[in-house]
């Protein structure tokens, strides 16, 4: 593994030292010498601007067209998810999790369900684990497609949007086939999956796996050597390894800054230790490298989906959910014949299952980086506290470091390259 941080005496390829603003790391302040002169123009950007990926407000100080100060304001879509989840039984709270991030709903569900299972000490059948992995990777492709389409759209490459949303539809169709929903599925249940994988899913998914590498090659052909795209992205939004780690950056932003770190490989969960996994790392720490990382990650995800399908096809007829009747609903047909099953069904649905007292932190590698879930249980039927560690939240903290000296037009490219979703930042 590469040395994560450039040690003293070792050349950092991006820039020397640190660029994190002081004393407030997330606010770039205008030089006091020019602050109140006529040269500085303060512009309000957002919160309802199409390129903010939600409702982000940036107060930008400009000297001509150069950004000399930036101040990010968040909180416009705070809906109190975490507080609401404390009021619901564990079982019902799962439904809240995917609503937090509409592009990455599968991932955020997985992390919450994994946290409950860690507290319960529940074994999950292999079929469910493989399926969770498969859907997680489809979700990564979906998230990167939305990012690629919108980020390119913001820089004027309108055609990218139509290409990526064509494949995005395919992912959503697969999601609909599995769970009946396009987004915000509630397919993961404590102990496994809510239902068996439907007939016809594997062939449809195979078609997608065969189609997707060609589509990714198309995107790359449209953008990678595109002069305008290169002009707008290469060497912009710089973040070196030391700053990226100090600011808690994870995922593609960290890997584009030259840090070889991926939780799927370095801290495996689900069955990621059983598949071949390519982790793309690029050294330049700019917007272009963040694009490169995401393109290669999509290819890597397609390969993982393929490997998951190979395993799943061999598990035909296996159980898809744990058999622990204190936590998992009994099969529907048993309710007509077994009193015991009826009681369990009633208790789980009305009261909810109890989760042992304790606190856990579970982290997964989401398309945007480390998505964590800190859960506290008091031994009751409802979570005492749920806190999500949102990678977008951390990514936005790096804005002030990245935009120094950038032009106002590049601000959009730089903030876009962080791939933030405000629903997750504000929760």
């Amino acid at each position: 593994m590469a040395l994560p941080v450039a040690r003293p005496g070792q050349q950092d390829p991006i820039y020397e030292g640190t660029r994190i603003p002081s004393p407030i790391p997330t606010v770039l302040e205008v030089d006091p010498a020019v602050k109140d002169t006529d040269d500085i123009l303060t512009v309000n950007f957002g919160p309802n601007h199409p390129s903010t990926h939600g409702v982000l407000r940036l107060i930008v100080d400009l000297d001509g067209e150069v950004v000399v100060g930036v101040h990010a304001k968040v909180g416009y879509v705070h809906t109190g998810f975490e507080k609401n989840m404390e009021q619901k039984s564990w079982w019902k709270a799962i439904t809240y999790a995917p609503r937090i991030d509409y592009e990455r709903s599968i991932r955020i569900q997985v992390v919450f369900v994994l946290a409950i299972e860690k507290l319960l000490g529940l074994e999950v059948p292999p079929k469910a684990t493989w399926m969770r992995m498969l859907l997680s990777e489809l979700n990564r492709i979906h998230s990167h497609l939305v990012w690629l389409g919108t980020a390119a759209l913001e820089l004027g490459a309108i055609s990218m949007f139509w290409y990526t949303f064509r494949e995005r539809e395919m992912v959503l169709d697969l999601s609909e086939l599995v769970a009946g929903y396009r987004m915000h599925t509630r397919y993961f249940q404590t102990g496994g999956l809510a239902e068996d994988i439907p007939a016809g899913f594997y062939p449809e998914c195979r078609k997608f796996v065969e189609w997707m590498p060609k589509a990714i090659a198309d995107y790359d052909a449209l953008l990678a050597k595109n002069e305008i795209w290169e002009d707008r992205t290469v060497g912009l939004g710089l973040l070196n390894r030391r700053d990226a780690i100090a600011l808690g950056q994870t995922g593609p932003v960290l890997r584009a800054s030259g840090v070889d770190w991926d939780l799927r490989r370095d801290d495996p969960y689900l069955y990621y230790d059983r598949v071949r996994l390519h982790v793309p790392v690029f050294p330049q720490g700019d917007t272009y490298d963040r694009y490169r990382v995401r393109i290669e990650e999509m290819q890597a995800s397609v390969e993982i989906v393929d490997q998951c399908l190979d395993r799943l096809e061999r598990l035909e007829g296996e159980p898809w959910i744990s058999d622990d009747r204190k936590v998992v609903l009994p099969p529907r047909e048993e309710l007509h014949t077994s009193m015991e099953s009826l009681i369990h069904h009633f208790k789980i649905v009305t009261e909810g299952y109890r989760v042992p007292e304790g606190e856990v932190y579970v982290a997964v590698e989401s398309p945007r980086g480390e998505l964590g879930c800190y859960v506290v249980s008091d031994g009751g039927a409802r979570p005492w506290r749920v806190k999500f560690r949102a990678p977008s939240f951390a990514a936005l903290e790096a804005t002030a470091t990245m935009v120094q000296g950038a032009y106002i037009a590049d601000l959009i490219a730089i903030v876009g390259s962080l791939d933030t979703v405000m629903g997750e930042v504000d929760r």
């Binding site: 593994m1 994560p4 941080v5 994190i20 004393p23 407030i24 790391p25 997330t26 606010v27 968040v74 909180g75 705070h78 109190g80 975490e82 507080k83 609401n84 404390e86 009021q87 039984s89 860690k118 507290l119 780690i245 100090a246 600011l247 808690g248 950056q249 994870t250 840090v259 770190w261 939780l263 370095d266 801290d267 009305t350 009261e351 909810g352 109890r354 007292e357 304790g358 606190e359 856990v360 932190y361 982290a363 480390e370 964590g372 800190y374 506290v376 008091d378 031994g379 009751g380 039927a381 409802r382 005492w384 506290r385 806190k387 560690r389 939240f393 951390a394 936005l396 903290e397 504000d426």
Partner: protein, 181 residues
């Protein structure tokens, strides 16, 4: 792992395969600096605040605001079967640290605080703590001592109260233009 030398260490707890270090808040910055420099925890992943008001008395997490004020939900059958272990103070603040090393070692640094008791800022150790600390102040009302910009992050600047606290009502907001205002 050997965490004996951490300044202000009160207790080390192992549960669910995770290590938690309970640290005296007065020596938090020292402890964090040592963990970063000596143990390699270069990344602060998350700061999670928890309110333990009413811990062990079922029903408290079910506050429902009504037009008449804040009412306690009936505990119904969702009460606890056994009382959980008591907590030393009302709030806990959990710093989740990660080392970028093989095996991905993690540790949770935990401090316990009473209402209004400030916790020193760890901004000098990890600049990324900025928004996490402001979020802890905004949503949970934990004052951060020595933060250069201690403003609210999520809620409006003139917001009253800290919404994620257990005594803050859910649904207790006056509805605009409802005639009850």
């Amino acid at each position: 792992m050997p965490f004996e030398g951490v300044p202000g260490l009160v207790e080390t707890r192992e549960a669910f395969g995770e290590t938690a270090l309970v640290v005296d808040p007065a020596r938090l910055v020292e402890a964090c600096t040592l963990l970063r420099d000596e143990h390699g925890f270069e990344m602060l992943v998350d700061i999670a605040a928890t309110d333990y008001l009413g811990w062990g008395s079922p029903g408290v997490s079910g506050y429902i605001g009504t037009a008449q004020g804040r009412n306690l939900n009936r505990p119904m059958t969702q009460g606890l079967q056994a009382l959980p272990a008591p907590k030393p103070k009302r709030f806990s603040l959990n710093y989740h640290l990660l080392a970028i090393q093989p095996g991905a070692p993690r540790v949770r640094v935990q401090v316990w605080l009473d209402d209004g008791e400030p916790v020193p800022s760890v901004l000098s150790v990890w600049p990324g703590a900025d928004w996490f600390e402001r979020e802890a102040w905004d949503l949970m009302g934990i004052p951060i001592g020595g933060h250069p910009y201690p403003e609210r992050l999520i809620m409006d600047e003139d917001w009253e109260g800290h919404p994620l606290r257990k005594d803050y009502p859910l649904g207790g907001e006056p509805v605009r233009f409802s005639g009850e205002e």
